[in-house]
């Protein structure tokens, strides 16, 4: 703040005890500050993401006007309370197997009957006067209309998180005004959500029509009743997110696959055959931190290149010194070995047991990439 008057930009600092403080001013109006226990480059990347996501949550619920043209600070403070549930969701990041707020790629589930679901989502959205429709199973996108995928990646992630929080409350349907942080920050759309089965929700973004009860009474049954069994099959995939036909190598403990073009991702943890030493929770933690490690040092995150200058500066010094991009990277720790692989279209991050020879990791990764559906 002191430096700001002199035109200097300071955007983060570390405490002596190793904690980190990161801040950013949005729209010349609101400054968000994140404080965390851990410091270091990885933590900074995570905190910057968090700030951006929190700001977007605020816009999603309140709209940008409310936040930028502040007439009465006390009132704004009160209104901000309505974003708390969504912000809490991001802060906790408890939900295992959901990495979207970190990767800004949509957590997806690859359903066995993809084409039927696609047709139904398309038809349902059209009937609700909308081009934006999406089916979310276990908090992950199972199918969505083409236009839904054209929303900004961050909006896709936030809407998924929003639907997830609404869905977990157990309510049957809802009609929420939402602002799209990038596509429509000042005009609210309506997000209609219907819980088809517990854990399976369909939603559409629409204008003034149709009313909630009308869409529910006339469209939900007509489009989705014939698909009850298909939806149950999707639900049965559980956290694995992959069709049953895909058999992973036994030496894969966890993986995250990103399609860099479509900005979709799948991730899963494989608990069998037995590697009891690492709990599921720990595997998710390790996968998260390996992702942050790789992308803050070696691989670029797609949007980072066009993000704010502070963020660009974070893409490792390593990267900036070279004209080419690293294709692979690995990290060996006592707990596990991690390998990252990058092609023009995909990024794959996986964890293997420590007893897998380091030279074999590349083979494990390339073979796994060939096995996986590529989300094109």
């Amino acid at each position: 703040m002191f430096g700001g008057g002199q035109g200097a930009v300071l955007s983060s600092c570390e405490t002596e005890a190793g904690g980190g403080v990161v801040w950013r001013v949005f729209q010349d109006s609101v400054m968000l500050i994140a404080v965390s226990r851990g410091g270091g480059k990885e933590e900074q990347v995570r905190l910057r993401r968090l700030l951006e996501n929190v700001w977007s949550c605020m816009v999603l619920v309140l709209g940008q006007d409310e936040l930028v043209h502040v007439k009465n600070v006390e009132r704004l403070k009160k209104e901000l309370r309505s974003c708390f549930s969504l912000i809490d969701l991001l802060l906790e990041e408890k939900l295992e197997g959901i990495l979207g707020s970190l990767t800004h790629c949509a957590d997806s589930l690859l359903p066995p009957n993809a084409s039927v679901l696609q047709e139904t989502v398309d038809g349902f959205a059209r009937a609700a006067d909308s081009e934006f429709g999406c089916l979310i199973v276990h908090g992950r996108i199972a199918s969505a209309t083409e236009k839904w995928w054209r929303l900004a990646p961050q909006e896709v992630i936030l809407l998924s998180a929003f639907v997830r929080s609404l869905s977990s409350s157990g309510s049957a349907s809802c009609d929420y005004p939402v602002f799209l942080p990038q596509g429509s920050p000042t005009v609210a759309h309506r997000l209609l959500r219907f819980q088809l089965l517990p854990g399976a929700d369909v939603c559409v973004l629409c204008g003034p029509t149709p009313p909630l009860h009308e869409a529910e009474a006339q469209l939900v049954g007509r489009f989705w009743s014939p698909l009850v069994e298909t939806l149950r099959e999707c639900l049965a995939l559980g956290e694995r997110c992959l069709p049953g036909s895909v058999t992973l190598r036994p030496d894969v403990l966890a993986l995250l696959l990103i399609n860099r073009e479509t900005r979709r991702s799948v991730c899963c943890v494989q608990m069998f055959p037995h590697h009891h030493t690492l709990s599921k929770t720990r595997r998710w933690e390790l996968l998260r931190s390996f992702y942050t490690f790789s992308t803050s040092r070696y691989f670029s995150q797609e949007e980072a290149a066009c993000g704010p200058p502070e963020e660009r500066a974070l893409v490792g010094d390593f990267l900036q010194g070279f004209s080419h991009q690293p294709q692979q990277c690995y990290l060996v720790t006592e707990e596990c070995k991690s390998f990252g692989l990058q092609t023009p279209q995909h990024q794959l991050f996986l964890l293997s047991p420590p007893d897998v020879p380091t030279f074999a990791l590349r083979t494990v990764a390339t073979q796994t990439l060939l096995l996986l559906p590529l989300m094109n």
């Binding site: 309505s82 157990g170 049957a172 929420y176 005004p177 089965l197 399976a200 009313p211």
Partner: protein, 248 residues
């Protein structure tokens, strides 16, 4: 004057305690908790026990923080939120509740869809209230025992709704009855209010110890009043119903 049925005059109160209700209530339970139903699901009875389901739309009215979202969750047997997160739009919750009609002995599943909209969202967005009001069958007016103003405002609220939605059922629910240490509304005032408006007034709050018993008074009362209203509308009850038993 259609009046309000005396509690237990049309439906069997505490039916969930009777042995003959078991096969019906088992359809809304799963592992001793309330079962969750998606929109594509409903309780299924075996083919030789045909049961009709009657659908109703119920609006929860009351100021921010009074406990609308918590009540909806309670009535559906869902996790009750412990911190207050404003509801920023409309959320509906579906509750299935089996009811036995006193006179005919007929059993019905009531499908009560509770419409809950955050008070501040209602104020910020004009299109939400009309959507909640459209074809509404009943309004639950909530006040909190810990918030005097929410009780004082009831009369206003009820008058407003009586003007705009004449035929709909009205029930008053006092929330946070468990927080008696901070009680701001006396039992006497509640009785006076009840007499003046001749509307059912119920209480709720606290830990849920009995899955069905916790919600039965509210759900039975609501169902009974809705059924009564339907009968009146259909003309089968031209005079106020006579109580068969003395209601409490």
């Amino acid at each position: 004057m259609t009046g309000v049925p005396h509690a237990g005059s049309l439906v069997v109160s505490d039916w969930h305690r009777c042995p003959d209700s078991k096969e019906y209530f088992s359809k809304i339970l799963h592992k001793k908790r309330r079962k969750r139903f998606g929109l594509l699901e409903s309780p299924v009875m075996p083919p030789h026990v045909p049961v009709d389901t009657v659908h109703y739309k119920i609006f929860l009215s009351g100021k921010s923080g009074v406990g609308k979202t918590a009540l909806a969750a309670r009535l559906a047997g869902l996790n009750i939120p412990t911190v207050h997160h404003e509801t920023t739009g409309i959320e509906t919750t579906v509750v299935y509740w089996p009811v036995k009609l006193r006179e005919s002995g007929r059993v019905l599943f009531f499908r009560l869809q509770l419409w809950d909209c955050g008070e501040n969202a209602l104020r910020r967005f004009d299109h939400l209230l009309p959507s909640c009001k459209d074809q509404v069958d009943a309004v639950l007016f909530l006040f909190s025992f810990t918030d005097r103003t929410s009780f004082d405002d009831l009369s206003n609220q009820i008058t407003k709704w009586t003007e705009s939605s004449a035929g709909c059922v009205k029930v008053v629910v006092g929330t946070k009855f468990d927080l008696f240490m901070h009680c701001d509304v006396s039992g006497r005032e509640v009785r006076d209010f009840q007499e003046k408006w001749s509307l059912p007034v119920l209480r709720t709050g606290g830990e849920v110890t009995d899955v069905l018993g916790d919600v039965a008074p509210i759900l039975n009362c609501l169902s009974e009043n809705l059924w009564h209203q339907d009968c009146v509308t259909a003309g089968s009850l031209s005079r106020p119903s006579q109580p068969e038993t003395t209601a409490l």
